[in-house]
């Protein structure tokens, strides 16, 4: 225990003397949490729409008005030729083309049906998909209005009068910040935990002090604990700063218990620190360690369910996310913050993360050798 005391004393002194690390700890969460949630917005707006109107009728104009009035679309081109509109797409000036055929009004009134053509620039898949879905629903809506207001119905009304209204549980206003901010906080904790630990140990390898420590009778677990404990405390500090910002700036107050979140974060940090430790046993210098961390972070972020929903991933990718600690914490923090889940609801994730912590740390301790 005495040995550990000396190790901790030394580690904390070094951390608080390193202005670089302090800056990272305090400025990183502030910047990330102030900027990212505003940029990482799922709502697609400003979809550029080119309309090819062959009909030039009242009905076609009404339709276009309705589309532009929705607020999601910007009318970038209004033309009578499909080729013109296509050119707009080629030059990336339009995302969608809505083609209204020649006899649109006539068909609608007389034949009781009309066809519209939609062409989508699928280079930005999300925008294309959401854009056409929005447009579809606006047209549907318009269709309903037209039929109700202007068309004489036959005796038996073919119009279905069932309307679907959805309500968003747990995040009634569909505020994306409520969704993103906790997730970004998780990423932050992961980065601070694994990177700082790995770099700290690898730095000792580079300057040669680790050899001086290896030549002392110090126990492996003393050394490892001496590194884990300071960064564990640091991680929780960063997490607290992050939560304070989330509350002050975005008004995010967990629906569930803050204690539940901290309990999970404490276990989660052990897993992440174990990962950092493991990286440091393989990397010989800071560049190597940075590169490995960077690669792992990329996989963690893209397969973590923050930006893309895990539910919509292909089966094999879902299996990979099972090995990604980030995905569990993102799930848990959303459950607790938005839904108010308690410890019993997250016990599966808690146990899994605990398993991660045990495996990663044991692996690191086994792989850390005092003798080559």
């Amino acid at each position: 225990m005495r040995t550990l005391k000396f190790l901790l004393q030394k580690e904390f002194r070094q951390i608080f003397r390193d202005s670089g690390i302090l800056r990272i700890i305090f400025i990183l969460p502030v910047i990330q949490l102030l900027i990212l949630p505003w940029a990482a917005d799922y709502e697609i707006k400003n979809i550029k729409l080119a309309v090819v109107d062959h009909d030039h009728s009242d009905y076609s104009r009404q339709l276009i008005n309705k589309v532009t009035a929705s607020g999601y679309f910007i009318l970038t081109d209004y033309t009578s030729f499909y080729d013109d509109a296509m050119r707009q797409i080629e030059h990336d000036k339009a995302d969608l083309i809505l083609e209204i055929p020649m006899s649109f009004e006539k068909d609608l009134v007389k034949e009781d049906k009309a066809k519209l053509f939609l062409a989508v620039n699928a280079i930005n898949g999300v925008k294309a998909g959401l854009g056409s879905a929005y447009l579809r629903s606006i047209i549907q809506d318009y269709n309903g209005e037209v039929r109700l207001n202007w068309i004489q119905f036959p005796r038996f009304n073919p119009e279905t009068n069932i309307e679907v209204v959805s309500s968003n549980w747990f995040n009634p206003l569909m505020n994306y910040k409520f969704f993103m901010v906790p997730g970004i906080l998780v990423l932050l904790l992961t980065m601070v935990g694994s990177n700082l630990t790995a770099i700290n140990i690898v730095k000792e390898k580079e300057i040669g002090t680790i050899e001086q420590i290896n030549v002392t009778p110090i126990k492996k677990y003393h050394f490892v604990l001496g590194k884990l404990i300071p960064f564990w405390a640091l991680g929780l500090l960063v997490f607290s700063i992050g939560f304070t910002i989330a509350w002050l700036v975005y008004g995010i107050v967990p629906a569930g218990s803050l204690l539940t979140i901290y309990f999970f974060a404490a276990i989660y940090l052990l897993a992440v620190l174990g990962l950092g430790l493991l990286i440091s046993t393989y990397a010989n210098n800071q560049q190597q360690s940075m590169l490995i961390s960077f690669f792992i972070m990329m996989v963690f972020v893209l397969l973590g369910g923050l930006y893309t929903s895990i539910d919509s991933m292909p089966g094999w990718a879902k299996i990979i996310t099972k090995f990604n600690p980030v995905s569990y914490f993102i799930e848990v923090i959303r459950m607790v913050v938005l839904k108010g889940s308690g410890l019993s609801d997250i016990k599966y994730q808690l146990l899994t993360i605990f398993g991660f912590a045990v495996v990663l740390n044991s692996w690191a301790v086994i792989n850390y050798r005092k003798r080559s």
């Binding site: 040995t3 000396f6 002194r13 030549v215």
Partner: protein, 270 residues
Amino acid sequence: MSSTSNKNILNTPPTGGERGTVIKADKLTKRFGDFTAVDQISFEVNKGEIFGFLGANGAGKTTAMRMLCGLSLPTSGTGRVAGFDVYKENEKIKRNIGYMSQKFSLYEDLTVKENIRFYAGIYGKSDKFIKDKTEFILKQLHMENEADKLVKALPLGWRQKLAFSVAIFHEPQIVFLDEPTGGVDPVTRREFWSMIYQAAESGITIFVTTHYMDEAEYCSRVSIMVDGRIDALDTPSQLKKSYQAKSMDEVFLKLARKAARSESNPTKTA
């Protein structure tokens, strides 16, 4: 300044010997793949001796030293340090040795006092011992005013002297010094060697590598490594006699010239 005039100022090296063997290597070998860094070296070091470990760059000195310190696992051969086996009892060896590596190994972002306290602490020394001895050492190094300065603010020579004091702070039986005076000015080098003599007088065995041939003359006995093997081992005066050389410098050149794998001309004499 010539190497002989240097020697006269320092006392005659302690001979050790009568008090027993503290390091014993028998055909100790280390291979990295098909490269044999250390090739069946055998030697004994007596208690209280200053044992000089010479050789060109890449001759295998550091690797041999790392095996004895328990930092590197030997490929074959046997070795005992402070009575413990280098294979199985390496952690026990560590309790009884001090080590000063080629790389500067104190924490530059800690103060002089904090460095001493840290290393003494992890060797399990008591607070009282640390406090008393720190004061004593700072006085001895004339560094009382630097006690609370960060180590990175000290000049190289001071740092090396401090590193040596830290390496023997826990009063080990043996201290291993890997090129402790590399890059240090001649005056500081002299001061450093008088510290080594003091430590040897107090009973600590010194195992030291160096490239400075005047320093070789200060040693009780000297071994010279060439291509991973020990080609010569004797007292400096005996070595000069058998190689019909006027100085250790000449002895070294005669031996090192045979080296197949060293850098073109590795002698760095003072």
